[in-house]
């Protein structure tokens, strides 16, 4: 039995036993190479799940849908390691209760799919794996290329990209970490970020988002894939993540008991002006 069939029947069993109220996985997409999120509430619907190398989306983003988990019931979700990493971050930020999520874990290695063992978030110890995990070679190459630019060149590079931004906020909406009920761009007293998508307003938005994800990004690349105008957003987040690892030896999502790296006051803070 392949993993797809195994997970279909496992999802069906979870649903028919009533252990979970919903399974979030993948179904056929609108074209042969696309997969789309599929929500199964019955064992029959679970038979439509597809699991193959095209299932790259990070479905954990649906776990923070407002009201989804407020009834205390469980939801099962198909997740790759980056999705599991997101779940760790969401738990550490109190957006998820660990016992409400059943994980149907899988990994993609080239075109091969392997099942990950464990169903509870605590079954997955990602620690070292995440740290040693590097972005795909082409991303890394691009990141290095940008790194080598001088500041003026780098600014031009990002200016060209950000000026394309249409502020559709797809990057935000697909991101599991963007769970705020009111995003900073929707604050108008004061209007911190211009709503206009001119180059300045676009810079404001994209930089604010990069800061808000520093030390929280699970590097799933969803923002990058979602961007309809092809801004290489994951490069920004990759760089911020790297910065946080270097400065604080903190890798987001290693486990679910991390405290927010940029918001944990330590009594021995070298700056004495606060306390």
């Amino acid at each position: 039995m392949g993993i797809q069939e195994q997970y279909r029947s496992e999802a069906a069993a979870l649903l028919s036993s009533g252990e979970v109220k919903l399974v979030i996985g993948f179904g056929e997409g609108s074209t042969a190479d696309r997969r789309r999120p599929l929500f199964a509430r019955t064992p029959e619907e679970a038979q439509k799940f597809v699991l193959d190398a095209a299932c790259i989306a990070n479905l954990s983003t649906y776990l923070v849908t407002e009201g989804l988990l407020s009834d205390g019931k469980k939801v099962a979700v198909f997740l790759k390691p980056d999705g599991i990493r997101s779940v760790n971050i969401l738990i550490s930020e109190a957006q998820l209760k660990p016992d409400q999520v059943v994980i149907l874990g899988y990994a993609i290695d080239k075109a091969e799919i392997t099942a990950l063992e464990g169903r509870n978030i605590s079954d997955f110890s990602l620690g070292e794996e995440i740290r040693s995990h590097t972005p795909p070679p082409h991303i890394l190459q691009e990141a290095e290329r940008i790194e080598e630019m001088n500041p003026a060149e780098r600014f031009e590079f990002w200016k060209a990209h950000f000026s394309k931004c249409i502020k559709c906020y797809a990057c935000r909406q697909v991101c599991p970490m963007c769970y705020c009920r009111r995003c900073i761009v929707d604050v108008n007293q004061p209007q911190w970020v211009s709503t206009s998508s001119h180059t300045l307003g676009n810079f404001e938005w994209n930089i604010v988002r990069a800061f808000h994800l520093a030390g929280r990004c699970a590097a799933c690349g969803a923002c990058d894939r979602a961007c309809p105008v092809n801004i290489p957003l994951r490069l920004v987040n990759y760089r911020m993540g790297k910065e946080v690892i270097d400065a604080f030896d903190y890798c987001a999502g290693e486990n679910s008991s991390q405290k927010p790296v940029l918001a944990s006051f330590k009594q021995d803070d070298p700056e004495t002006f606060i306390l």
């Binding site: 004061p190 911190w192 944990s264 009594q267 306390l275």
Partner: protein, 656 residues
């Protein structure tokens, strides 16, 4: 729209000599929303303040900006003036065109345009200010003093003397602290015990003071005026209410060879003991780890010897909870672990001792009854070498600071040694002699001039034993020559360091500390006895190395602060506190972790039927110090700080 009054102060020549105030007044007069703009030589003067008040009344001002000095200087002055003229005092802003402008610039045009920018950005801020009212907090008028050394005792006595209740907590079996270990005290050479003991007794007998020895503060919660502290009373195994302090049990205890902590290991104690003869309370404790009964289940000789059945092997430790309005931290110091100076042979040679050892040797109640004897063989040393700064002012050994008392006590040691041993020879290696204090320099001079202390300026590189002598090798930097002294005893003036658990304890009660673990004051110069956490005060050597006079002075100062707080039933606090927007709070608790004051809690939001809808952050205005850390963190901008709202700050920045 807003009607703002702008008042440009010359501060004599301080501002006017560098800022073209006429241009500033002109610029501000043309600024949207400015109803009146004046300049004057000293707005902080009475006529100056009158001008401000008159303008508020005549122009019906909605806000005031005084372009002058730092708000630290005169914010209160002008707030008061505003209030007197009927304007909410929080509708005032000070534009600092002195410290941030005239004093730091040397080019008038630049200074003037900077002054304009600073002032107008405050005008834009004040337009968005809201009227604020001070927060009233009830005050529990009972103080907790942590640490029963001389500082703690003094603070407790002063507070109790003014009629307020005090709980004095000491973790050792007796109060007294390090001062009780000292022989004579500089610069008067009066006997430490003689001046301390009456204070100890006064404290324990004071009707307003509850002394809790052998006890530790476990946990402190709450905020100024409203602290709750859990105090753990360790099991003493002696019923304090029965014990008369007769000492029979101590006499009979068969375990007699325990090195006494009080005597720095130079003397011995029993398993049931009081740390020293004049201990207060004079009630022994049983050292469970050394007691034969606790180890083997047999003995109980002390129980049998006690006429009044005060021994209670079943006693359990207990935790008591008290409410307090203020806390005085007087947890004191320890001396540095001298083993870091391997080259001085401490621990290797018995006759290399610390200053505190020397105190015990010199003390009439000490193990040698005041005779200076070598620990190795009990002989009286002929030559003693004192090494100053054996730990202090030595970044390589982790202590950059000066321990402040060593110069004085070393001089005292040399003096005491000479007094007890005529014809003896003391050599003191020193870096500098720091003797600033009343009668201090005279004291060190006396050691040199009258008592023959031989001061050698230089560092000691090595101490080693040769033919029964301790050879001290160093350099006399004044002569530029190496020196070697054959000594019978070496005394190291070790550094004063924070208590080993100082940092942990600070975290427990929520106060700040420096890199060493000394506790931080709110402002080194202007608020030296307050911590940044309102309602918690400092005194003694837990803040920095101090001698007795300084510790006592600071203790009285802390007591004065506590009494000031206790002078009213309600406390008025600055309304500059944060508040959470509950509709948009996502409950990620980042602010809870970020808050240095533990002022943010989790709050349940329920529907009408009591079902939990969500959890949000909630700021306790009593604890909040208005630092703004939570505001900067909150991604959804769901926290705002009254008086410094994001709207205000944004307007300020945009006006630059």
């Amino acid at each position: 729209m807003a009607k703002i009054g702008v008042f440009v102060c010359h501060c004599g020549e301080n501002i006017a000599s560098m800022v073209d105030t006429g241009t500033l007044v002109k610029a501000m007069s043309d600024h949207p929303g400015v109803a009146i703009c004046n300049e004057y030589k000293y707005f902080c003067s009475d006529p100056g303040q009158e001008t401000v008040k008159r303008a508020i009344r005549e122009h019906n001002l909605t806000g005031v900006v005084v372009a002058a000095c730092s708000p630290r200087m005169h914010e209160t002055t002008f707030r008061k003036a505003c209030a007197e003229a009927g304007l909410n005092p929080y509708m005032l802003e000070l534009a600092n065109i002195r410290e941030q402008c005239s004093w730091v610039h040397s080019e008038k045009n630049q200074a003037t345009s900077k002054a304009i920018e600073i002032t107008r950005s405050l005008v834009e801020k004040v337009k968005r200010n809201n009227e604020l009212k001070p927060i009233s907090v009830p005050v529990t008028r009972r103080a907790l003093v942590i640490g029963g050394g001389i500082a703690g005792i003094q603070a407790a006595l002063d507070i109790a003397g003014a009629g307020r209740e005090v709980v004095l907590v000491e973790r050792e079996p007796s109060i007294g602290g390090h001062m009780s270990q000292l022989s004579e005290t500089f610069p008067t050479l009066d006997c430490s015990q003689c001046i301390l003991t009456p204070r100890m007794v006064e404290a324990i007998q004071h009707p307003k003071i509850t002394v809790m020895t052998y006890s530790e503060v476990e946990e402190v919660e709450g905020y100024i005026g409203n602290f709750t502290a859990k105090i753990r009373k360790k099991a003493r195994y002696v019923d304090m209410s029965k014990c008369t302090g007769c000492g029979d049990c101590i006499q009979k205890c068969p375990v007699k060879k325990i090195p006494s902590e009080f005597e720095c290991g130079l003397g011995k104690r029993t398993a049931i003991y009081t740390p020293f003869a004049q201990a207060v309370p004079n009630v022994p404790v049983i050292d469970k780890s050394r007691c034969t009964y606790f180890k083997n289940g047999k003995c109980k000789i002390c129980e049998k010897s006690c006429q009044i059945d005060a021994i209670d092997f079943e006693q359990q430790e207990s935790v008591e909870t008290f409410e307090f309005g203020a806390i005085v931290v007087a947890t004191g110091f320890q001396i540095q672990d001298t083993s870091v100076y391997g080259e001085y042979g401490y621990g290797k040679y018995k006759d290399v001792i610390t200053g505190l050892h020397f105190e015990r040797l010199a003390s009439a109640s000490g193990p040698t009854a005041g005779k200076i004897q070598r620990p190795s063989d009990g002989k009286e040393p002929e030559t003693v070498v004192f090494i100053q700064c054996a730990g202090s002012r030595d970044p390589s050994k982790g202590v950059k600071y000066c321990s402040k008392i060593c110069c004085m006590y070393t001089a005292k040691h040399a003096m005491l040694y000479t007094h007890k041993h005529h014809g003896s020879n003391s050599k003191i290696f020193y870096m500098d002699i720091r003797a600033a204090g009343k009668g201090y320099d005279e004291f060190t001079r006396r050691a040199i001039e009258e008592d023959g202390a031989d001061y050698l300026r230089g560092r000691v590189s090595k101490v080693f034993e040769e033919n029964g002598k301790l050879i001290v090798r160093g350099v006399d930097t004044l002569l530029g020559k190496p020196v070697e002294v054959a000594a019978d005893m070496v005394v190291l003036a070790t550094a004063m360091t924070p208590q080993p658990d100082a940092k942990q304890f600070a975290k427990r009660i929520g106060i700040g500390y420096d890199e060493y673990g000394f506790y931080n004051e709110a402002h080194l110069k202007l608020r030296p006895v307050e911590t940044a956490k309102a309602g918690i005060y400092l005194c003694g050597a837990c803040q920095s190395p101090k001698d007795i006079p300084d510790s006592v002075a600071q203790a009285s100062a802390a007591a004065a602060k506590v009494l000031g707080l206790f002078s009213r039933e309600q406390l008025e606090r600055e309304p500059v506190v944060a508040a959470v927007g509950e509709t948009t709070c996502a409950g990620c608790w980042g602010c809870v972790y970020a808050c240095p004051y533990n002022a943010i809690e989790k709050k349940d939001i329920t529907d009408r039927n009591g079902n939990l809808i969500k959890q949000v952050a909630s700021v306790n205005p009593g604890l909040c110090q208005g630092c703004g850390t939570c505001v900067t963190f909150c991604r959804s901008n769901s926290i705002d700080l009254a008086g410094f709202t994001e709207k205000q700050i944004f307007a300020e920045v945009m006006a630059l």
